[in-house]
Every structure is written in structure tokens, then in C-alpha cells.
């Protein structure tokens, strides 16, 4: 993840250098993954994050389908009366309001306006899902040599999970 951050940092700084001629590239952090958007934002008064359908899928994995906004088995129908709050056709491009979608599914969002960065957190059901089963939430993280380990790979053993920090 460090490399990813560094790479994104370089792209980010690179885009800052071009600011005189073009706008700051927008950045979306979704499920802890960072995506830089290539298209400039549509001209709008709203502070909401409008993305193209291709960008939606690239940044979040969600796809707009007739039955709703879907990812794998998960599908969120858009309220019929309010479709225009989510989707807008401009010329050949269909824009999707990711901020409005976050409000619909009750996802927390943090925004840094000056640097055009948005960070989306887990839906409350996703965060609290483990309370139903009492199953320890799984994670996959590197050791110091970069090798990835998942908590779930220790199934069959008792595990003492301990956090610590250098600070």
C-alpha cells in the first residue's frame, strides 16, 4: 500500500504542477483504494462528486443497471422519483452523483475541497456486520518483507490478535 500511496502522491503532485492550465485531478478513495479521475468535473454549482459511469466502476466496482446500482450480489435500487438526483445526461456522457449515492446508502464521506479529494467509508451495515455472527472481521496485511497474510488463514488455531504502534 505504501507504494500505491507514493505512486498516487507523484501523480497528485504532477497534476498540481499543471494546475495553471488544467484543474486539479480529482481523487476518490473507496474501500481504502485510491483512484485518480481522468475526466475534468462537469460544470456544476454543487459540491457533490459527479463521475462518469466508467469512472464509477473503476473507482468503486459499482455498475449502473436497470435494477439499480450493483456490485456482485449487492444492488441498491435508486428511488424512482429522484433518479435525476443520481444520473444526468450531458451530450454523450452520463454522469453519476457518487455523493448522493453515499447519502442514499448512508456511507460516511470526507472531502478536501482544495485538493479535490473524496474519501468514502463503509456503510454502517458493512462495518457492524460481524456483530450478527461474532466472527472476527478479516483483514489482509503485509509483514515487513511485504508478504501478505490474512487473519482467516489462521482458522483452526486460537489467535491472540494484538495491535501495537511505534508512536
Amino acid at each position: 500500500m505504501r507504494n500505491l500511496f507514493q505512486l498516487v502522491g507523484l501523480i497528485f503532485l504532477g497534476s498540481m504542477a499543471n494546475e495553471a492550465t488544467s484543474q486539479v485531478r480529482r481523487v476518490v478513495i473507496y474501500d481504502d483504494a485510491v483512484t485518480e479521475l481522468r475526466t475534468p468535473p462537469p460544470s456544476t454549482q454543487s459540491k457533490d462528486l459527479w463521475v462518469t459511469l466508467a469512472e464509477l466502476t473503476r473507482a468503486t466496482g459499482f455498475v449502473v443497471k436497470p435494477q439499480g446500482v450493483c456490485r456482485n450480489e449487492l444492488c441498491f435500487p435508486l428511488p424512482k422519483q429522484r433518479k435525476a438526483d443520481f444520473l444526468e445526461q450531458r451530450g454523450k456522457v452520463t454522469w453519476f452523483n457518487l455523493s448522493e449515492f453515499a447519502r442514499l446508502v448512508k456511507q460516511p464521506v470526507a472531502h478536501e475541497e482544495k485538493l479535490a479529494a473524496w474519501c468514502f467509508g463503509p456503510r454502517p451495515e458493512a462495518q457492524n456486520g460481524y456483530l450478527a455472527t461474532l466472527e472476527a472481521p478479516n483483514f489482509t496485511l503485509p509483514d515487513r518483507s511485504g508478504k501478505l497474510h490474512s487473519l482467516s488463514s489462521f482458522r483452526g488455531k486460537k489467535v491472540l490478535l494484538i495491535t501495537w504502534a511505534s508512536w
Binding site: 456483530l131 489462521f154 490478535l161 495491535t163 511505534s166
Partner: protein, 214 residues
């Protein structure tokens, strides 16, 4: 960490693992010196994004969770020191805690230290909307910090701290990344003094060890 290595060595042949996770935005650079010094045999992972803090709603380090063979939580978040070096903060002896782990490793679910589902549900509560918002502000701040925008990260770290005032991880990590007094108007020592005798770590709710494990 050397203490945990000794403890792990004692129990590792009893189907027991330690998974130790560093909550460090500075990643390998910050965590490695500690790992190298102790050179533990158990698994040590680096968590730059504080994912475990968020997933398990932790507020402090060190925090431990007991997980059984089926991957279920049998004791949730509590302070876990292997020695008494920081007893002035914990006001607790580490010995009974280590004995409790030994008891669990020996007896499994029949250990009196594992919790019933009812008790687990009492202790594990859904996170508040504020805490979810704090997590996402912290994630954004970390991203900005890594992208070379340290000054722009500070208001987001502060917002995370405001929304989750009991989360020491979010305070201490942010303070370390800049000059705490200059940028946050405080520091760890001052904040601990403000506790005014209130415990820095929530006390463990644990029965007295009745008899030593076999």
C-alpha cells in the same frame, strides 16, 4: 515485544498463534526497528491505514482480541500488556491476564475467561455515525499526508479526533506526524494529565483467576 516472544514460545505448540499488527502510518520505516529488536517468531503485520483499529473499533494500543478456532471472537478489545512496564497507565498487573490466556489455550471454550454470546453482544456494540465519520476523516488525512500535503491533512486529523474523542490512536498517530504543540496545541503528556486520575485504559472486566491452568 520480547515478552510476547517468550510467551509465544511457551504456548506455540498448543494450537495457539499471536498475530501482532502495527498501527503505524509511517509503515515499515516506523515499525521495523521494533520488530528487528525483538525478532519474534509469531506473525507481525504492518497496518499503515489503521484498518484493524477501524474494523474492530479499537481506541488504543496495545489492544487484544481472543479469536477461537472457528474464527469467532471469544473476548473482545481489552488492554494487553505482557509486562508491567506501563503499570502507571494501566493500573493493572499483566500476570493475571497472561494466566487467563494460558487458561483459554488449555481449556478452550470451557475456560471461564471466554465470554458467552450474550456477554459478547453486550460488549460489542454498533459503531456510532460519528465514529464512522471519524474513520473516514482519518483515512482522508492519512492519504493527504502520504500525497505530500501534510498541512492540508491536519484539519482532517483534527476532525477525526473531534468526532472520536476517546480514540487515542487517532490522536497519538496524528501528533507524531507533525509538531503536536504547534499544530494541535497539545501533546500526549498534557492530554494524559488532563485525565486527572481517570484511567488511560478502560479497566479489564475479567474474573479473578480461580485456579492455575494445568
Amino acid at each position: 515485544m520480547p515478552g510476547w516472544q517468550t510467551f509465544y514460545h511457551e504456548l506455540k505448540d498448543k494450537n495457539f498463534e499471536i498475530v501482532s499488527v502495527a498501527q503505524d502510518t509511517g509503515g515499515v520505516k516506523d515499525a521495523s526497528p521494533w520488530i528487528e529488536k525483538a525478532n519474534p517468531e509469531y506473525t507481525v503485520l504492518i497496518d499503515e491505514q489503521h484498518l484493524v483499529t477501524k474494523l474492530y473499533s479499537m481506541v488504543n494500543v496495545p489492544t487484544a482480541v481472543w479469536i477461537n478456532e472457528q474464527g469467532k471472537i471469544v473476548r473482545p478489545n481489552e488492554v494487553a500488556f505482557v509486562d508491567d512496564q506501563f503499570k502507571s497507565y494501566t493500573h493493572m498487573d499483566s500476570g493475571p491476564y497472561l494466566d487467563a490466556i494460558r487458561d483459554w489455550v488449555a481449556k478452550g471454550e470451557s475456560s471461564s475467561f471466554t465470554l458467552s454470546e450474550e456477554e459478547l453482544r453486550k460488549r460489542l456494540t454498533p459503531v456510532s455515525p460519528d465514529r464512522l465519520m471519524a474513520d473516514v476523516e482519518f483515512s482522508l488525512a492519512e492519504y493527504l499526508y502520504h500525497a505530500g500535503h501534510g498541512p492540508e491533512a491536519i484539519p482532517h486529523f483534527k476532525e477525526a479526533q473531534r468526532l472520536a474523542p476517546d480514540n487515542w490512536n487517532y490522536k497519538r498517530q496524528a501528533w507524531l506526524l507533525s509538531d503536536a504543540d504547534r499544530d494541535y496545541g497539545t501533546n500526549f503528556t498534557k492530554e494524559v494529565q488532563k485525565l486527572n486520575g481517570k484511567p488511560y485504559y478502560p479497566p479489564r472486566q475479567m474474573p479473578e483467576p480461580s485456579n492455575k491452568p494445568n
